[in-house]
């Protein structure tokens, strides 16, 4: 009897120790997963109910989108559109991203001092080219010249007989789709996995997350939000608990340079032509990945002008569920606060 109890004790001891050493947060429910570098970011896909072939197809789809939206690749659709004088017929994917950009531009134009997310500022984005040019700050005249080559009034988009068109009246106008294309691709990837019978899906496109169907045990996903300043505190500032939807983040902490104590990040105010310098992070929870990506950029810019996310909710209820803004003055939550746990 004693030796039996000793065996039980030993078993308990080993079990607890094993749990302590290996208890981590990775998925252990048998879901298939894959990581790949594409669209200038790291992509992680995981889902129950799919096969390796489905993952292969998802990766091939992502590669095909990369070939549409890579503005530095002379073979890409975006590159060719930017180089062309008048634009013209485009792919459904290209049209979809441009259309989302236009919708969010119009929405933000309606409630604040000028559109806050503008995909027509490609010339400006390429002029600064943050962070690839080091601490390069263009002359005021160069910035004005680049801004003069932007503007939605120079863009016409329409569908005709099942074909899609994006045309420009200004030959030098260049599109910058980096603020939307990844969120769009994220949403398309989640939808693709769903169409293949995927369940308990989680996809990450470089920090933008899409989930569908909750976790295998029926509980919601817990998605931590990275602190924009981990050097002065915790690695995360809180977390979302959601079953379905998209978390998009625009932050000033990855692509930036500093000059004279000022941080110049890769997100521009299309009204001034300068990077936004007083928002640290704009996080938004939406039902659409493409809209979420565009909105996080718009909210990032709006915050620097003192314009809050609830202005957009007033204009279009339900455009997002929850927004979380971090700047030098602190952290603020908007919309439905029940999804977010703040630390």
């Amino acid at each position: 009897m004693k030796s039996f109890k000793l065996q039980v004790s030993a078993f308990l001891l080993v079990s607890v120790l094993l749990f302590a050493v290996t208890g981590c947060s990775g998925r252990s429910d048998g879901a298939l997963s894959r990581s790949l570098f594409a669209m200038n970011t790291v992509i992680d896909i995981s889902s129950d109910g799919i096969t390796e072939t489905d993952l292969d197809e998802a990766a091939a789809l992502i590669r095909s989108w990369e070939l549409i939206f890579d503005f530095k690749n002379s073979e890409s659709e975006l590159y060719r559109w930017n180089e062309s004088a008048v634009g013209g017929k485009v792919s459904r994917e290209f049209y979809s991203v441009v259309k989302t950009g236009l919708e969010i531009y119009v929405l933000s134009s309606g409630v604040c001092s000028g559109g806050a997310c503008d995909i027509t500022i490609g010339a400006l984005v390429e002029l600064w080219d943050i962070p690839n040019k080091g601490d390069f700050i263009p002359d005021e005249s160069e910035i004005k010249a680049a801004l003069a080559l932007s503007g939605f009034e120079n863009l016409t988009i329409y569908e005709a007989s099942g074909e899609f068109f994006v045309e420009k009246s200004l030959p030098e106008l260049r599109l910058s789709l980096g603020g939307i294309a990844k969120g769009w691709a994220l949403e398309q990837t989640v939808e693709f996995l769903k169409s293949r019978g995927g369940q308990h899906i989680m996809v990450s496109f470089g920090g933008n997350i899409g989930v569908a169907g909750g976790k295998s045990d029926g509980s919601p996903w817990k998605i931590g939000i990275r602190s924009p300043r981990p050097e002065t505190g915790d690695e995360t500032v809180g977390c979302f608990k959601i079953t379905d939807g998209y978390i998009a983040v625009s932050g000033d902490y990855e692509r930036y340079f500093e000059s004279d104590g000022v941080r110049y990040c890769h997100i521009f105010d299309p009204q001034t032509g300068y990077p936004v310098t007083d928002t640290q992070s704009a996080v938004v929870f939406t039902e659409s990945g493409a809209i979420g990506d565009a909105l996080s950029t718009a909210l990032f810019v709006m915050n620097s002008r003192g314009e809050t996310p609830d202005l957009l909710l007033g204009e279009q209820p339900g455009i997002f569920k929850t927004a979380f803004i971090i700047d030098d003055s602190g952290q603020r939550l908007f919309g439905d606060e029940g999804y977010f746990i703040k630390y």
């Binding site: 009897m1 004693k2 109890k5 000793l6 039980v8 004790s9 030993a10 308990l12 001891l13 607890v16 120790l17 749990f19 302590a20 050493v21 208890g23 981590c24 947060s25 998925r27 990581s35 570098f37 200038n40 970011t41 790291v42 992680d44 962070p131 690839n132 989680m202 990450s204 920090g207 933008n208 997350i209 976790k215 996903w221 817990k222 998605i223 931590g224 939000i225 990275r226 602190s227 924009p228 915790d234 690695e235 995360t236 977390c239 979302f240 978390i247 998009a248 983040v249 932050g251 990855e254 692509r255 992070s281 996080v283």
Partner: protein
């Protein structure tokens, strides 16, 4: 009236062993998960050449070959790791500086290299982190 007799009047020697073992196990598991105890932490290096794992507590300097001929020089020093140099154009990996906490990553997108710290995460039990 029938008197209900307890199964056992006094704890047996074996009971004490079980209790002692559970208390010891609980104490050990607590100590193992305390912040600061990072004995199990690793440096995981993912590159086009595959995945390799090193200890976070064995100082080292080595090169990782990435895509497009990009080579990253990685230094493990005093329980932290950083990209000392890289042939990539944007050098975001070098600018990232030192990382020392489980779950933190250094990513070189042009070189397709990910340096991450593995081990028990402190505080957060997330499914993933956005941002």
């Amino acid at each position: 009236m029938r008197k209900i007799k307890p199964l056992r009047e006094k704890p047996l020697f074996g009971d004490y062993i079980v209790i002692a073992a559970v208390v010891l196990a609980a104490a050990l598991s607590f100590l193992l998960t305390l912040p600061g105890n990072k004995a199990g932490n690793t440096v995981n290096i993912t590159s086009p050449g595959g995945v390799s794992v090193r200890s976070l507590f064995e100082d080292a300097e080595f090169c990782v070959e990435g895509a497009d001929g990009i080579v990253m020089t990685v230094v493990i020093e005093d329980g932290s790791v950083f990209a000392a140099d890289s042939g990539c154009p944007d050098r975001l990996c070098v600018n990232k500086g030192k990382i020392d906490r489980p779950g933190e990553t250094i990513v070189c997108l042009p070189g397709h290299i990910i340096i991450s710290i593995g081990g028990e995460k402190e505080g957060g039990d997330y499914d993933c982190v956005a941002g």
